[in-house]
Symmetry: C2
Amino acid sequence: MSIDILIEKIKEKKNPTVAGLDPRWEYVPGYIQEAAIAKYGKTNKAVGAALLEFNKGLIDGLCDVVPAVKPQSAYYEMYGLSGLNALAETISYAREKGMYVILDGKRNDIGKTAEAYAGAYLAKVNAGEIEVANELESEGLTVNGYLGTDGIKPFVEACRDFGKIIFVLVKTSNPSSGELQDLLVDGEMICQKMASMVNRWGEGLEGKYGYTPVGAVVGATYPKQLSELRSLMPKSYILVPGYGAQGGGAKDVAGAFDKNGLGAIVNSSRGIMCAYQKGDYKPEDFAKAAYDEAIRMRDDIMQYI
Amino acid sequence: MSIDILIEKIKEKKNPTVAGLDPRWEYVPGYIQEAAIAKYGKTNKAVGAALLEFNKGLIDGLCDVVPAVKPQSAYYEMYGLSGLNALAETISYAREKGMYVILDGKRNDIGKTAEAYAGAYLAKVNAGEIEVANELESEGLTVNGYLGTDGIKPFVEACRDFGKIIFVLVKTSNPSSGELQDLLVDGEMICQKMASMVNRWGEGLEGKYGYTPVGAVVGATYPKQLSELRSLMPKSYILVPGYGAQGGGAKDVAGAFDKNGLGAIVNSSRGIMCAYQKGDYKPEDFAKAAYDEAIRMRDDIMQYI
């Protein structure tokens, strides 16, 4: 199971973190923006080229110390087809460099259509005799479980058949997450109901560390719920957003881990990507700054595990 | 408000339906597949070209009688960048032909990222001085409200500022939708809670027919809930999937409409796209078959309104 590969990469690097690649144009160092505009003019193509150049530098800087990257699909989609092309190239480059790629797309739909999404990101797709080369294939994908079991099953089947993983939104990191996710049903919150569904969806797919390929997203911004959900989903890896820029600290994420220091992977996006804008870095040193911040984050989190 | 434009298109065509464009390769007539392979070989490019050719024919066949199309993003994403290119060209072609385009993407994320998704599909995006040409811009987008208000607000703001619309998943058409959506909170189902949120998100944005740009998705496969949700969301247009191939009939969707025959738009995808596979059509007549089925569906539904 591919969750084992992620765990082994985490163990090997002694680093349970993932670098979010959410490359807004404003994050890209000016000299990269300028070079792209000089080459392609003020066009979408320049934007895509700049994002990709930035991402490649970040991946180069991070690949020896961070096990995984998490590109956020929205930040590529917003720049149109050139953005999506940059996403495809980013995924491919990160995989080449041995990084585990979790695409943050929060996809969801009814069964037939969920199958198409699974095909897009996790499985093989054929069009008649044509084997589709899917440039957006990743190791993992975030998904939204609002539609229930038949909307998730195709993703789980892709996990089983192609050694992939998913992370189901359980308790998200944003301020309004409780509006729906904390509603009480027979004394149990909706996010806890979702946690039970996550358990059920993963049943029988345990890998050698006891974890299934059906993980969960739980935000660092709700540390108490994070600990509770950890114990409710003993076999699910937890992807933890909200560390750093969103306000979650190392202590807040500690509850996501099991007693062996496994069970969670903590994301930082802006903190790592824009590290060069803090301290004494030149823009040209953005990859070094990202590396330094990744090490700082790793050490920060490891002290509590 | 753009919801008024949709309503006027529906009134003009006397047809409250939308044609889903979910072009699986298997749906594409063989002669189009073969021509694409002859031109591009057994490649992604051939797939993209065939999907686009098929869609253009369907749009040509439908644009005089059907007000809107709803491409399902998953069926393009699954064919990689060539699929996404076909999606962009499909959207652009449908808009040229005067059709209202609702992209079915069920996007969702926390505030900052929801803003990026809104930019991708509904708003304008700038990258510094570059005005991004967003090839995937549509008139409407389906979204998932599991994250609560701050995950939806950026979409609502895009509706307000750029004359767009959204449809929030309330009660989906799939068999498992009740697992989460029918759970009872203080005697009220989650889908009803979501309906209240839909009302709140649309507040103050009523157009001239009394409808807001914040609509809802409610499946034809749950006709009783459809009627109830219609009265719970008096100002929201309802996008109704599940007619035809999924089992919903014209009687089942009747409850989605208000007393003036407005308030809902019923989707059919496979039924229209694959109409040529039924009856006495030649594959070359797929557009005519789609037209005939669209008329049949319109008349079928109109008799109950």
